[in-house]
Symmetry: C2
Subunit: 262 residues, 2 copies
């Protein structure tokens, strides 16, 4: 049996997230049905993690165990010919046997995009959170730096009592601006439910001047979700990249050459 | 009577172009109806030029003669509150009396966007022309330079016999690449029907290696539309900017300080 790794991109708007569910179309369902159409084979594609309804992925690694004998190139071409334009297969590779995109993930990078111009963007409004006040990116960065490191992030988790531990290591949290777009990049070894969207909602409050950057420490210590900012809307959230150890066959050097970063 | 200049942006996809027509929703119609809703006044917004069905505008100047007494800021806010997100008012200014956005236009800049990556972009496929072969941007630029200057552009015009003259001056024609996106910028003192889309279709043939950059001279001399490349699809075309002389009150220095460029 082959274990294939597909890296896929998707526009989250038409989908109820990644994982198959009874009440709406999901990316996993479309991929499963398209695979069946091409190969007559039933598979269960496993992604690095679920994404919520409306969340986008620029590169989501997916593992598929298959008996299919097509070449990697033929798999990619056949899938892209049949999938809707909102889902694209960027790469197909043979993964190490036993490669598990969930368990082996070392780090993920998410980007949250906010638009704070006086007038919305006619082309990109579906891909960002439009806020009314101009954001202070320097203040947001002061707050973002305070999120870096190993902390209990339960104040940034929706429904936190469900997990054994809400301690995670954020290796990178930075805010940048290009014109009227403000991007919030968060890289961590794991994410709690709605964690990036709660971080984005909180950093936007800092950017609006209604929350001090220094308050992040109190927030982390308090462990109380209601003290943090709102959960930012899904449409501004992008899964950018997932890094794996070199032993899984990850072709991306960012995933294999920076062991010291965590 | 006031003469207002509105600079608007629009996503062309939902509209049958700028100009009111019987068989489909247009940007002019939406703007006219929105104005009426706010002011109870019937106006005829005049744009710098028509854009075709599906063509986008990043900044389209529009003149409106009005008796309405709202401040400029209030006009902008009221319109943006009522217009759909696919149309935004970027600026509102008092124009010189008699300002005519068609007749006074000195230069327009259009951008045509092509995507030539192996895999389409999930978020931006609506905003570009997807081509299969990797394009040679250097060759395209050699061809683009040959379009600069004053020429008879009838070989790049659909239905050319309708005009008195098809001589235009292209002040700038350049091709650039950002990743898998290739942009073709064409600046001229006026454009013939479908001219930028015919130029894009022709330059893409050069980029694919099926047409030599040197052939542009023969093409211009021949004056035969059928010898040029295909008309590229509307969805990749953006009106970027229209320049006016300083005497019209144009706030944009690019429109007023470069008289020597034409």
């Amino acid at each position: 049996m082959r274990n294939l790794r597909l890296d896929i991109a998707y526009d989250g708007e038409p989908y109820c997230g990644w994982q198959v569910q009874p009440n709406g179309l999901t990316v996993q369902q479309v991929l499963t049905e398209t695979w069946k159409k091409i190969t007559q084979e039933d598979v269960v594609p496993i992604a690095s993690g679920r994404t919520d309804s409306g969340v986008h992925a620029l590169r989501q690694p997916v593992a598929i165990e298959t008996n299919m004998t097509l070449t990697l190139d033929a798999v990619q071409r056949a899938l892209n010919a049949e999938l809707p334009p909102s889902i694209r297969v960027l790469d197909v590779a043979e993964a190490a046997s036993g490669f598990d995109p969930v368990r082996h993930a070392k780090r993920k990078l998410y980007r949250y995009v906010v638009h704070d111009g006086p007038v919305g963007d006619v082309h990109l409004s579906r891909l960002c959170w439009k806020v009314r006040s101009r954001l202070d990116v320097d203040a947001m960065n002061l707050a973002a730096r305070r999120l870096e490191g190993t902390h209990d992030f339960r104040s940034f988790e929706t429904e936190w009592p469900n997990r054994a531990s809400s301690v995670r290591t954020v290796s990178f949290c930075r805010v940048g601006r290009i014109g009227d777009f403000v991007s919030i990049d968060v890289e961590a070894n794991g994410f709690l439910y709605n964690m990036v969207r709660a971080i984005a909602g909180t950093l936007v409050e800092v950017g609006r001047g209604v929350r001090a950057p220094e308050s992040i420490e109190t927030l982390l210590r308090g462990g109380n979700r209601s003290q943090a900012g709102p959960t930012a809307p899904a449409q501004g959230l992008f899964l950018v990249r997932v890094d794996y150890p070199a032993s899984t066959g990850d072709p991306d050097p960012a995933g294999s050459n920076e062991e010291g970063r965590e």
